[in-house]
């Protein structure tokens, strides 16, 4: 690694200035995503395409939680899909019981978070591959529960129009309201990014990293492994469940069979490919793993597009094992060496 590599990008260019301001990056990203809400109304994009962006944003929220686990805390979970499902189906159940949207969301988050805390407790006893297998089965158990317990409606729960803050009724069948729902999701994605940024750039974030990278020193400095494993798992679970709640909000229907291991693996791939510990990188990962195949390649190539995204993943892992977002770092370095060379030349 470069000895002079600083934690902050330096330089005076606009890109470096943006690089130093993560909140500005999140805002720019959210603004770009918001533009997409308008495009279908101008006839520049299909509404189904907007839904792909919505799903990408939802996946990003989930993958942010996975990045807390995988990137910062050195932990893994293969049960993510189960918790996305908990968010979506839980909303279905509680909304049908007549709870207001916000109350239902809080109840679902509380239940899911408690299960996440249990897994955190469990993670003190089992490590690495064993933890992966244990959480794999947590996900499988949840999936079985969703498909076989009658309260979840068998195939899916229809939610229908959603009322936010008790006032704004939004129905995704109506084009304008679908755009508003999309904007709400982008807004929550932005908030998720800001909250995560706050968390990882704090005492808590440092403790999570110390716990996974220098366990003994962390303990000697007073970092309780139990407490921070709980924090990591609860945060990741809450992000996954929030993703499920957003799914229920946008698609207004919650399937029972969709929450398979495949989804959990995609979320992990997003973190690995996009960038460990990088919030913007997590979005990049979601675009590469979910967005790109569905937006671009599928139309051109049909189902074989997944082969190309698979190949892309392998390429990224081979050449950017820390994630695609670090391509930017390398480009900056190349540019600055080229500039230095140009200056030296007569």
């Amino acid at each position: 690694m470069n000895r002079r590599l600083t934690a902050q990008p330096c330089g005076t260019s606009i890109l470096a200035a943006i690089g130093r301001r993560p909140l500005l990056q999140f805002a720019l990203l959210a603004a770009a995503l918001l533009v997409i809400a308008v495009l279908p109304h101008l006839g520049l994009m299909r509404f189904s395409t907007m839904s792909i962006y919505a799903y990408t944003a939802i996946y990003t929220v989930v993958a942010l939680g996975m990045n807390i686990l995988l990137g910062f805390s050195g932990l893994i979970s293969l049960g993510t899909a189960g918790f996305i499902g908990a968010g979506a189906l839980g909303m279905g159940v509680f909304l049908r019981m007549g709870l207001p949207f916000e109350a239902a969301a809080l109840v679902v988050l509380a239940i899911s978070g408690s299960v996440g805390a249990l897994i955190g407790l469990f993670s003190l006893k089992v490590e690495s591959i064993y933890l992966a297998i244990a959480t794999l089965f947590v996900g499988e158990i949840l999936r079985q529960v969703y498909t076989s317990v009658p309260i979840f409606g068998g195939e899916f729960i229809r939610i229908g129009a959603v009322r936010l803050f008790g006032v704004f009724e939004l129905n995704q069948i109506l084009q304008v309201e679908r755009s508003i729902l999309y904007a709400v999701i982008v807004g929550i994605l932005f908030i998720s990014m800001v909250l995560m940024h706050h968390l990882v750039k704090s005492r808590t974030g440092r403790a999570l990293m110390a716990m996974s990278r220098s366990e003994h020193a962390a303990q000697a400095m007073g970092v309780s492994l139990l407490k921070y494993r709980l924090i990591a798992f609860v945060t990741a679970t809450l992000y996954a469940t929030a993703g499920g709640i957003l799914y229920a909000l946008y698609f207004q229907s919650a399937p029972t069979r969709a929450w398979t291991l495949n989804v959990s693996l995609l979320v992990i791939a997003m973190v690995v490919v996009g960038g460990f510990k990088s919030i913007v990188g997590t979005f990049l990962g979601a675009i590469i793993i979910y967005g790109l195949p569905n937006l671009l390649l599928k139309d051109l190539l049909g189902d074989i597009s997944y082969v190309f995204s698979g190949a892309l993943i392998i390429l990224v892992i081979l050449f950017y094992p820390r994630g695609f977002v670090y391509v930017g770092h390398d480009l900056r370095r190349v540019v600055s060496t080229l500039r230095a060379r140009a200056r030296r030349a007569p």
Binding site: M1, N2, R3, R4, L5, T6, A7, Q8, L195, H198, L199, S202, R203, T204, G205, R206, A207, M209, A210, R213, S214, E215, H216, A217, A218, Q219, A220, M221, G222, V223, S224, L225, I231, K277
Partner: protein, 270 residues
């Protein structure tokens, strides 16, 4: 050569009574008794495998299955350290560095040092998530303190660099800075001079003195570098095969025939 420091008030801070630690059949530490007084710089020496690091791991409670007693004296009474969980030891004023460096490679030097301030923070995970004004001011306060400590160690200009790829001498200082952030009463240094060049080792003498003066700590250190031990330690404790050999002023220990034998075999001089 330093003189034994006159003690105005001789109060023990750390006492080991008959500490024994066994791994399988091996007695790594065998009935060791040792008292460290407040404000002292005490060196623990012994040949490789003598059990020095094991003693440190018992004191800092990484090993709990030792026999005997390890007692810490505080202003409000004595504490049997065995009752203290490993992550709470620092709250009783004991911190340590690690022989083989235990830093977070992908955090900046400043952030690594801030890990040492973990127990000094009042704010919790929720206020961090929302970045409340209090969390913000506390973070700034701690960063300022980290800046002071780094400045004291002469590496403040490197604070934004990642730990990965830094030279060994710098990393050793980062470890010391991290321990100082916890405001320790007793700082335990595991081979602070290992891997340093001659110049850095010489600077370490003065640094260890300054740490005691500036941060009012007691220092317990393991070291192989005899020149350093002789220069900075008030008293030295020599052990071999986990057993107590001798304790006293550095000169006395240096001339002790048992110690010389342990290090060099018979009929040779240290």
């Amino acid at each position: 050569m330093s003189e034994v420091r006159p003690m105005t008030e001789v109060r023990p801070i750390l006492e080991l009574e008959n500490v024994t630690m066994t791994f399988g059949g091996l007695r790594a530490v065998d009935g060791l008794s040792l008292t460290v007084f407040e404000g002292e710089i005490v060196g623990l020496i012994g040949p490789n495998g003598a059990g020095k690091t094991t003693v440190f791991n018992c004191v800092t409670q990484f090993y709990k299955q030792y026999e005997g007693l390890i007692r810490l004296t505080k202003d409000d009474g004595a504490v049997d350290l065995r009752d203290v969980p490993v992550t709470q030891v620092v709250r009783h004023g004991i911190t340590r560095t690690f022989q083989n460096l235990d830093l977070v490679p992908d955090l900046s030097i400043e952030d690594n040092v801030l890990v040492g301030a973990h127990t000094r923070f009042q704010t919790g995970v929720l206020s961090h998530l929302l970045r409340t004004p209090r969390a913000r001011s506390e973070e700034k306060e701690m960063r300022d303190r980290a800046g002071e400590v780094l400045d004291f160690l002469g590496i403040a200009h490197l604070k934004d660099l990642y730990v990965a790829g830094q030279p060994y001498g710098i990393l050793k200082k980062v470890e010391i800075a991290r321990s100082l952030m916890a405001e320790p009463r007793l700082i335990i240094l595991d081979e602070p001079a290992a891997g340093l060049n001659d110049q850095e080792t010489k600077a370490l003498d003065a640094l260890i003195y300054q740490i005691r003066e500036r941060y009012r700590t007691t220092v317990l250190l393991i070291e192989h570098n005899m020149a350093l031990v002789m220069n900075v330690c008030d008293r030295v404790c020599a052990i071999n095969f986990g057993r107590f050999l001798a304790m006293g002023a550095p000169v006395t220990i240096q001339r002790n025939p048992q110690v010389q034998e342990a290090y060099l075999g018979k009929d040779e001089h240290l």
